[in-house]
């Protein structure tokens, strides 16, 4: 029992620590690709620390929802993070929920973020929330289908069992194509959910282009810190999901310190690689118009569906 608690606390620490780094790394990659030095990779850590100390300015029209939402967002995203195997394949909290629980936990965070966006009563918040609603509602079916396609290979929807089996090369299917499609679909979904470039532009405050930023426009001080951290966390959760479910090699399948160390290292490498990939993609693509995003997400849905069909057709 004690060992489980240690692993959970370790996982919390790792998640909290690595998420700002990932955000920083992506910004650094984008800056480099735009031939500028860009802020240091650890800039997000300093931003969060600074924001915690600053005095938050809260709009007079808001109610208690505005104040509570950041906490719920942070808690739900972290809870989702705990369900995903990070450096050890058998996460202790695996029994608490499977993929659907993870998806709906993230949805809980989005729900309160949308409410917070509406609470301030400004047009920016309203527009952000309404766009977030449509994007979220199109990503979820694709996410559910893609993860289900993967779950079929491992015969279970519990993330730990999937990772454990693929890690031990048991569930590998002779033909990886269903996996590839599911991976592509999940990658598109990850970009949409976390508000990266082709869908949403995290760097700007121009009301026409921002979705996620618009909702959090009114936040300041410690609330903004929590929200930023949660956004980073959400990005990390998705990257971990992609990394560990599709390429779980190197993850610790048992709880000895050595395996844990190796697991942690490979995890960091994989996640950073993915972060770099996202940074590259953000630089390559321009932001899509809002009603072109629906076609992109439609593609993600079809890909996931094809993954499923191929899985059945191949396996017969």
């Amino acid at each position: 029992m004690l060992q489980a608690i240690i692993v959970v606390v370790g996982q919390i620490i790792v998640l909290l620590a690595v998420s700002p780094f990932i955000v920083g790394l992506i910004r650094k990659v984008k800056a480099r690709l735009q031939l500028r030095r860009g802020a240091s990779v650890f800039q997000p850590y300093m931003d969060i620390a600074k924001l915690f100390r600053k005095q938050p300015v809260v709009s007079s029209t808001t109610s208690w929802i505005f104040a509570v939402s950041p906490y719920i967002l942070f808690a739900s995203t972290l809870a989702a993070g705990l369900l995903v195997p990070v450096f050890v394949s058998k996460t202790p909290l695996n029994f608490a929920g499977n993929i659907i629980a993870l998806v709906y936990l993230l949805a809980l965070g989005t729900f309160f973020l949308i409410l917070a966006g509406l609470d301030a009563g400004s047009a920016f918040g309203g527009m952000g929330s309404s766009r977030e609603a449509i994007v979220a509602s199109l990503t979820e079916p694709a996410m559910i289908l893609s993860i289900f396609a993967i779950a079929l290979t491992a015969g279970s929807t519990n993330l730990s069992t999937i990772v454990h089996k693929t890690a031990l090369l048991e569930g590998i299917v002779t033909d990886p194509s269903p996996h590839l499609m599911a991976l592509a679909s999940l990658f598109i979904v990850a970009i949409a959910e976390t508000g990266r470039v082709p869908v949403d532009n995290p760097a700007t405050h121009l009301e026409l282009t921002m979705i996620h930023e618009a909702m959090v426009l009114e936040y300041s001080g410690r609330y903004l810190a929590l929200v930023e951290w949660a956004a980073g966390l959400k990005l990390l959760v998705f990257l971990t999901l992609i990394a560990n479910v599709f390429a779980p090699w190197g993850i610790a399948t048992s709880v000895e310190p050595a395996a844990l160390g190796v697991g942690l290292a490979t995890y960091l490498v994989k996640v950073s690689a993915l972060a770099v990939l996202i940074g590259v993609i953000e630089s390559m693509f321009a932001k899509l118009r809002l009603f072109r995003v629906t076609d992109l997400l439609g593609v993600a849905f079809i890909l996931a569906l094809l993954g499923l069909v191929f899985f059945y057709v191949l396996r017969g």
Partner: protein, 675 residues
């Protein structure tokens, strides 16, 4: 237990009689009627639980002089479960009504409202308990009639009358189909008693079983509000007083689900052709999707909730449909899981839908309008209602700590078990249905983010909203009771699952309690733990702990710094209430994305200033979506009948000779035929 049954029926009967003959002092009538209903409800809860626990079903019966009719009552676990749902919502609604009915002092006779309310609850209880087809039909029609009179309490408004009439006619058409279903069983069994339906001498021929299946689906589907037959629901439910629409949406629809389960699993036995389950699944998916899509476009809070009833009935049918498909292939454990998921969502929906309707009722009570565009900033003015409505909204959007999530998770699991099914087609259809369910879930999330956000947050958009005040204690108590039940059902499913298992076992002939409650009660699992598991209590604890962690981080890093209040950032100009986002604006992207389904028509008129065409004085924006079913299914039907009637008028043309000729021709024709 039969003493409990008698006590329950007499209490409701007293509730019907006493308010009607009290002196016409509204306060007395209101108090007496609703307190009687409340006590009866509590009795019903006790009876429901007793019925669930009781080893074998209780049957009492009163013979009647009319042939084929016997007032027989049977309390088996299925009936007890639905009785429990009805009574729980009944108690909450009657507590709520104590405060809410004050709005009708002087406008409608409280005696009538009170006795009709009790009669409505009594008829629903009897529908669930009835054990004779004829008695079931009588009480079923009585339920529709009494609910009709409740719907038209405010019959001065023309649209309320139209809604009431539309509702009454649709339910009557439904009853005609139900009558035919029972007749198919009656023909085999020779009597109307459900016992004869269950075990007819010789089993029904295959063709008749299919006809019975379709008739029951249409008949009960009309009352449940499945898609093609749902058109009356968004008219009738909002027109009723809110505590009645809570009962209608929350519970009356469930009597149709009860009857469907009774006919399919109890009378038609276990062996279904595969396409039965598929049809129910298809209807469920379509109802869920269209229900939530039309709800998104509604700006009248109560009709938004009514459309959501259509959506949730769809989700329930998804559960039941998947259960039926598994039953076809003999996978009894998964069939039991599907049915259990459907029933669990039934009670959950009853709770949070009733809570939301009561919340909407409080808003209507405070602001005297149902249009969401006129709400705003009500959370600060009505904190209690706001909090309860939020819990309702979170649970209908199926988000983790609440009951909606648990039952939707179970429905997802029953859909995901599809890979055990031999047929390829179903293997693909079920996951697709799961994807559609996910889309429905998240659209519901968007819809209730809109409903809660626009109504309760930011600045009040009208003087009504500005002068709104918190509602009376009894209304808050009613809502709080339901909110607590929602959370309890969400966090502690290990209490509910064993009870549900007792309901499901006789139908799926296998008990899956052990398999669904894994890890000694802490987690739910779809028959095998390996596949997936969910532990609602642990999730709830986790969320609370991590929020504490966040608070700790904040205090650790930032210390206790006081907040500063300032006006919202409005690009330099001070924001007025007209600059806020409206409900129409919120759903505009969704409307554009799904425009093929909505076929929206948008009208925009602008009045320009005389001086220049670049500055508009007034701009009027109007949009409405195509009522597809109404336009292409119901209006042509009504038009056909009126046209036929117009053409047939010529028979009564007034000339005496024509009339004489009719008699002459009939005489000659009959003489020729007969001889």
């Amino acid at each position: 237990m039969s003493v409990l049954v008698m006590a329950l029926l007499t209490c409701y009967a007293a509730g019907v009689v006493v308010p009607a003959c009290l002196p016409s002092r509204p306060t007395h009538q209101n108090l007496v009627a609703h307190s009687l209903a409340c006590t009866a409800g509590l009795l019903g809860v006790a009876l429901g639980i007793a019925g669930l626990i009781a080893p074998e079903p209780l049957t009492t019966s009163l013979s009647s002089t009319i042939p084929y009719l016997s007032f027989a009552i049977r309390l088996d676990p299925l009936a007890a479960f639905f009785l429990l749902t009805i009574s729980l919502v009944g108690v909450a609604a009657s507590i709520y009504a104590l405060g809410y009915a004050t709005e009708y002092y002087g406008r409608a006779s409280l005696g009538a409202l009170g006795s009709l309310f009790n009669g409505f609850l009594l008829s629903m209880t009897l529908v669930v308990l009835a054990d004779n087809g004829f008695f079931f039909l009588i009480v079923w029609e009585l339920m529709s009639l009494l609910s009709y009179f409740l719907v038209v309490t405010e019959h001065e408004k023309a649209d309320v009358r139209y809604a009431g009439l539309f509702y009454l006619i649709m339910t009557h058409v439904g009853t005609a189909f139900i009558m035919l279903t029972f007749l198919i069983f009656f023909q085999e069994g020779g009597s109307f008693s459900f016992e004869a339906f269950r075990h007819p001498e010789q089993p029904l021929p295959e063709g008749m079983r299919t006809v019975a299946f379709l008739m029951a689906l249409i008949g009960f589907g009309t009352k449940a509000g499945i898609v093609p037959l749902h058109v009356w629901l968004p008219y009738a439910h909002p027109a009723a007083p809110s505590h009645i629409s809570a009962l209608m949406s929350g519970v009356m629809i469930k009597t149709a689900i009860y009857a469907l389960v009774r006919v399919y699993f109890d009378f038609l036995g276990g062996q279904f052709p595969w396409w039965w389950g598929f049809v129910v699944l298809l209807v469920g998916t379509v109802s869920a999707l269209l229900g939530v899509m039309y709800a998104l476009m509604e700006h009248d809070l109560k009709s938004l909730l009514a459309y959501h009833s259509v959506e949730n009935v769809g989700i329930i049918l998804l559960g039941i449909g998947s259960g039926m498909i598994f039953q076809t292939y003999g996978l009894n454990e998964f069939a039991a899981l599907g049915l259990l998921a459907g029933l669990y969502h039934t009670i959950n929906h009853a709770m949070f839908k009733a809570l939301l309707f009561l919340g909407a009722g409080s808003l209507l009570y405070a602001t005297h309008t149902r249009n969401m565009e006129e709400y705003g900033g009500l959370l600060r003015r009505m904190p209690w209602t706001g909090a309860c409505f939020l819990i309702g909204a979170v649970s209908i959007a199926a988000l983790p700590p609440t009951n909606g999530f648990v039952s939707e998770w179970l429905v997802f699991q029953s859909l995901f078990l599809s890979f055990h099914i031999p047929s390829i087609l179903l293997k693909l259809i079920l996951p697709l249905a799961a994807a559609m369910l996910a889309l429905t879930g998240v659209l519901a999330l968007a819809c209730f983010a809109k409903a809660f956000g626009i109504s309760f947050l930011a600045l009040p958009r009208s003087s009504h909203a500005r002068h709104a005040r918190e509602v009376s204690v009894s209304m808050r108590l009613g809502m709080a009771l339901l909110a607590i039940i929602c959370v309890v059902l969400g966090v502690a499913p290990m209490v509910v699952v064993p009870l549900l298992d007792r309901v499901v076992t006789p139908f799926a002939s296998v008990s899956i309690e052990g398999k669904v409650l894994a890890l000694d009660g802490w987690a739910l699992a779809p028959v095998n733990v390996e596949f997936s598991s969910l532990s609602p209590p642990v999730l709830a604890l986790l969320l609370v702990a991590l929020s504490m962690l966040a608070l700790g981080l904040v205090v650790a890093f930032g210390g206790l710094v006081r907040k500063r209040y300032y006006k919202t950032w409005g690009c330099g100009i001070n924001l007025t209430r007209r600059m806020e986002y409206t409900a129409t604006g919120f759903v505009q992207p969704i409307k554009r994305v799904f425009s093929t389904i909505y076929q929206p028509t948008v009208k925009l008129e602008t009045e320009f200033l005389e001086e220049s065409r670049y500055f508009a004085k007034r701009r009027r924006f109007e949009f409405h979506i195509e009522p597809v079913f109404q336009k292409y299914l119901y209006d042509p039907l009504v038009a056909f009948f009126t046209a036929m009637a117009e053409r047939l008028r010529v028979i009564q043309a007034g000339s005496l000779h024509l009339y004489l000729a009719y008699i002459f021709v009939t005489l000659v024709v009959l003489l020729l035929i007969a001889v």
